[in-house]
Amino acid sequence: MNLVTVSGPPSTGKTAVILKTIESYKKQNVNVGVIKFDCLYTDDDILYEKAGITVRKGLSGGLCPDHYFVSNIEEAFEWGQKEGFDVLISESAGLCNRCSPYIKDVKAICVIDNLSGINTPKKIGPMLKSADIVVITKGDIVSQAEREVFASRVHTVNPGATVMHVNGLTGQGSFELSTLLYDRSLDTETLKGKELRFSMPSALCSYCLGEKRIGEQYQMGNVRKINLEES
């Protein structure tokens, strides 16, 4: 089974792009399943089911969704193998710009949109910088010039990636994307022992553990203070 990890800021069009891409696979008899990771809430599973795609979802609740992802992806992978998928696509909402769910030797796709602002590529960390393919959506509502400027920023941040434009509404570009995702010869046997592309921050503070009170005496663990002196 191929595993493909798709990540990106909220509402950039991950689900739309994945749905359109799977449509192209259906015609080629490639069997695809989806596992969706989110934080508090998602309706995406319903969208996938409506399209006739087998899907499971996991909500991380109090955890950073990417941390939750790493602790669950192995089981998800085994589920996909049991279901007999040719490709398992994981969709995860990138919420903190610091973590990313990408695994070494597993295809990594970042979805961002043209509306997010010219400085967004610079702000997004490993989720964008270490992706193999960057998909840019919502090109149908901005000018050609903005598309070009945005794509060139993405290229500057991650010169090694293939940058593609996909329209999540019409599906333009999704067939092309599908040709880059699935490769029978790149089947992954197991995730055991594989490594993340980028370590997650080790920071763990009292607030991670449920503390609510504000004040120095309540702060334990990894506490970092803002420098208000310099500008």
Binding site: L115, V142, S143, Q144, E146, V149, R153
Partner: protein, 336 residues
């Protein structure tokens, strides 16, 4: 002679490849005061805490700079490949029936209209052209450029895209003035004589739009016609894409005929998805799309061309009525 990123100082690198500044800037690396260090020395001088805090990956940053420089040099060194024709070799429609033509060649300076109901396969045709399909897409079409199987760079390059798109739904979204915006675009295209190019774009845009705008106008507050005019002028002058796809142009606030002839004067191939007879009949030919395939290709007849003048006359009348309504006037038979 190219410099080795690993062995050169940042100062040497920026001296030889000024464009590398953009890469370092986008990675949040501050060169000032570190000109005598190599990138590796700079990254090694950061504490593990800092590296983690800023989510930096030393190896990836160094490899990234190497690959950025190599790609930019290739981009700058390469002669702009002149596209003088685009050929579509026929494939099949959704039901697998062969398309209604054998092959079709479009040359620069031609306008081709695309007609057919929504969902009939217009975006697939466009997709085939952008992806320079080689019988490897659902339609099984093949695309040739200048009569030959094209370089695969057209598929993946960020800087060289075959098709630029202009559509009715597009709006400017960036928070910049016209001048800042055009400079930014020119910069991302690595254009050298930026001031001159920016001036040229503005003057062409003002020529196309009914109402003139200033360099200091925020792009998001341009009127519909002004936005359209700026988009067309900018795309014609700054975009390297040889093919322009236009998805309808509103018949308001912009001289559409002038806009089209301007694009053609920049040696572009213009594809135009439209059901507006005034635009469609301006085309040399029109592609009729049906059930996912090209059903037929119609050459604009001399009768149609003659009708165009009459259609334009009717349109001017309707435009005048519109203007009268806007002015609060009462419409009369004579004014029609």
């Amino acid at each position: 002679m190219s410099l080795s990123v690993k062995e050169s100082t940042l100062g040497e690198i920026l001296n030889k490849y000024p464009f590398a500044a953009a890469y370092l800037e986008q990675q949040n690396l501050k060169v000032e005061g570190r000109e005598n260090m190599s990138l590796n020395e700079y990254l090694s001088s950061l504490s593990e805490d800092e590296i983690e805090e800023r989510a930096l990956d030393r190896t990836a940053l160094i490899e990234g700079l190497e690959s950025y420089i190599a790609q930019m040099l290739a981009f700058l060194g390469e002669e702009e490949q002149k596209v003088s024709s685009l050929s579509i070799l026929s494939g099949a429609d959704k039901s697998g029936e062969p398309e209604g033509f054998d092959d079709f060649t479009i040359r620069t300076g031609e306008i081709i209209a695309i007609v057919g109901p929504t969902g009939s396969g217009k975006s697939r045709l466009l997709g085939d052209i952008e992806w320079v399909a080689q019988r490897d897409t659902p339609t099984n079409r093949q695309i040739l450029i200048n009569g030959k199987v094209p370089d695969s760079k057209w598929r993946f390059s960020t800087s060289d895209k075959l098709v630029a798109q202009l559509s009715q739904n597009m709006n400017f979204v960036m928070d910049l003035t016209v001048e800042e915006f055009l400079h930014l675009h020119a910069e991302s295209r690595m254009v050298e004589n930026r001031d001159e190019v920016v001036r040229k774009i503005i003057s062409c845009a003002n020529d196309l739009a009914g109402e003139k705008f200033e360099l200091t106008t925020p792009i998001t507050s341009l009127s519909g016609g002004q936005s359209r005019a700026l988009m067309i002028s900018d795309t014609a002058i700054l975009s390297r894409s040889p093919i322009i796809l236009i998805d309808e142009i509103e018949n308001a606030g912009i001289d559409r005929k002038k806009a089209l002839s301007f694009l053609l004067s920049q040696e572009k191939i213009v594809l135009m998805a439209t059901h507006d007879p005034m635009l469609a009949l301006l085309g040399d030919k029109r592609i009729v799309i049906k059930n996912g395939g090209i059903h037929k290709i119609i050459e604009t007849s001399s009768e149609e061309r003659a009708m165009l003048e009459e259609i334009e006359k009717v349109d001017r009348k309707v435009q005048n009525l519109r203007a009268s309504l806007r002015r609060g006037e009462i419409l009369t038979r004579e004014s029609f």
